[in-house]
Point group: C2
Chain length 243, copies 2
């Protein structure tokens, strides 16, 4: 292709916002169909629901789904609270997560909002129910904790399994075209985005052999997430905290 | 236009990265010309230069300019350090800032890197030398502290002048087409982007009359930035700290 390459597409425009929680370094994503205003939110954080709801309203969007990439251990999801604010909003999670939600998704399912579609890909290994949501029209994927920028989610609690994570990431995420933009659930160094091509070349863990990767993951010696005892049970039911 | 609107463009693709400093909530931007790999960085933070340099190298970019939107009071710029890492990289700042740099820009000047162009617009009011850089091809503007998401930079130190800031933002930023994406120098609530249309409708300060805006700005009662005594003198000379 020439330097001045011709980009000529016929796809429905997307309204897109990336949001950040400074406390847990969690990214939340709002995706809206420009034409119909139907929208979804991925991985909202309970303490920031007011911020997110205000923005959704200002953008003139109708929230159809509150989705999680997985049952988080580091923060409580905001999907339950968002359902209270936006009548008709439904929660979505992987059926393999064991969590409660209004709708469940599995490998190959499609989530539709307006003229936009997300393909669901199972990427277990950090947890059993980890899901990557792929928007082919806009060449974007939301990887949750399966793949992080130059890293990946830990595999030492919940249903962590490093061999399984390696296979998931390679077969479901790094198999996408190199130019696909990857939006992750966390970044601790202030990065906001990566691509398939970048991670295939520069991810220090996932460019290793499976055996070496498993060895690295077995020797991270990380401390437990601060809120895991509260977060996991709450996230099994849309963030509603048991009294 | 129909819902499935036709987008047909003939512009040179841009490599773009937004980066965040969790300590001072500062955004740094890397823009690279896909075709030629020439690149610039806007508002780098001295403590994160290694992160930024690593990413610039991984993306295969050649850093042409290290630019500042203004003489920051809250952090020390990384342009000096980046010049040491990337041979040939030059620093740029507004000639109205009074700061030292390799090149100076003023109203209407253009900064070119590869096939990409930024238009320089003077937006004084937070400081005398505040500059907004506009990339018309990609409908983006980098507003520094002149305009923040649902806010604006303070006007109570350096050469702060709230009436001037009001005029700058309205004449140079909010006069751009509504769909232009605005990338700011800071956000303290985890938002990452806004648009001209959004700020024209929802900015709580800048949707007021000039008189009301000046009254709001005169009554913010903010404490001084933590690092102002070190940051301002260092930023007058590309972040080199006087021994």
């Amino acid at each position: 292709m020439s330097a001045e390459e011709q980009t000529c597409v016929d796809i429905s425009p997307l309204i897109f916002r990336q949001l950040f929680d400074r406390e847990t370094c969690t990214f939340t994503y709002i995706l809206g169909c420009q034409a119909t205003k139907e929208a979804i939110i991925i991985d909202p954080v309970i303490g920031l629901v007011e911020r997110d709801a205000k923005l959704i309203k200002e953008l003139g969007l109708k929230l159809k789904y509150g989705m999680n990439t997985h049952v988080h251990a580091d923060h409580i999801t905001g999907t339950g609270k968002l359902k209270e604010i936006f009548a008709g909003c439904k929660s979505i999670v992987s059926k393999r997560s064991g969590a409660k939600a209004d709708e469940f998704v599995d490998q190959g399912d499609q989530v539709m909002f307006g003229n936009q579609t997300l393909e669901c890909r199972c990427t277990p290994g950090h947890t059993d129910g980890c899901m990557t949501y792929v928007c082919h029209d806009h060449k974007m994927a939301f990887t949750g904790d399966a793949l992080l920028i130059r890293g990946c989610g830990r595999t030492d609690f919940q249903q962590g399994d490093s061999g399984r994570l390696f296979d998931s990431v390679h077969s479901q995420i790094l198999s996408l075209p190199g130019g696909y933009k990857l939006y992750v659930a966390h970044d601790y160094k202030g990065c906001t985005i990566t691509t398939v091509a970048e991670e295939k070349q520069f991810n220090p863990r996932l460019t290793q052999t499976k055996e070496k990767f498993m060895e690295i993951m077995a020797n991270l010696n990380l401390s437990a997430p601060k809120y895991i005892d509260k977060a996991v049970p709450a996230n099994m039911m849309c963030g509603y905290v048991a009294e």
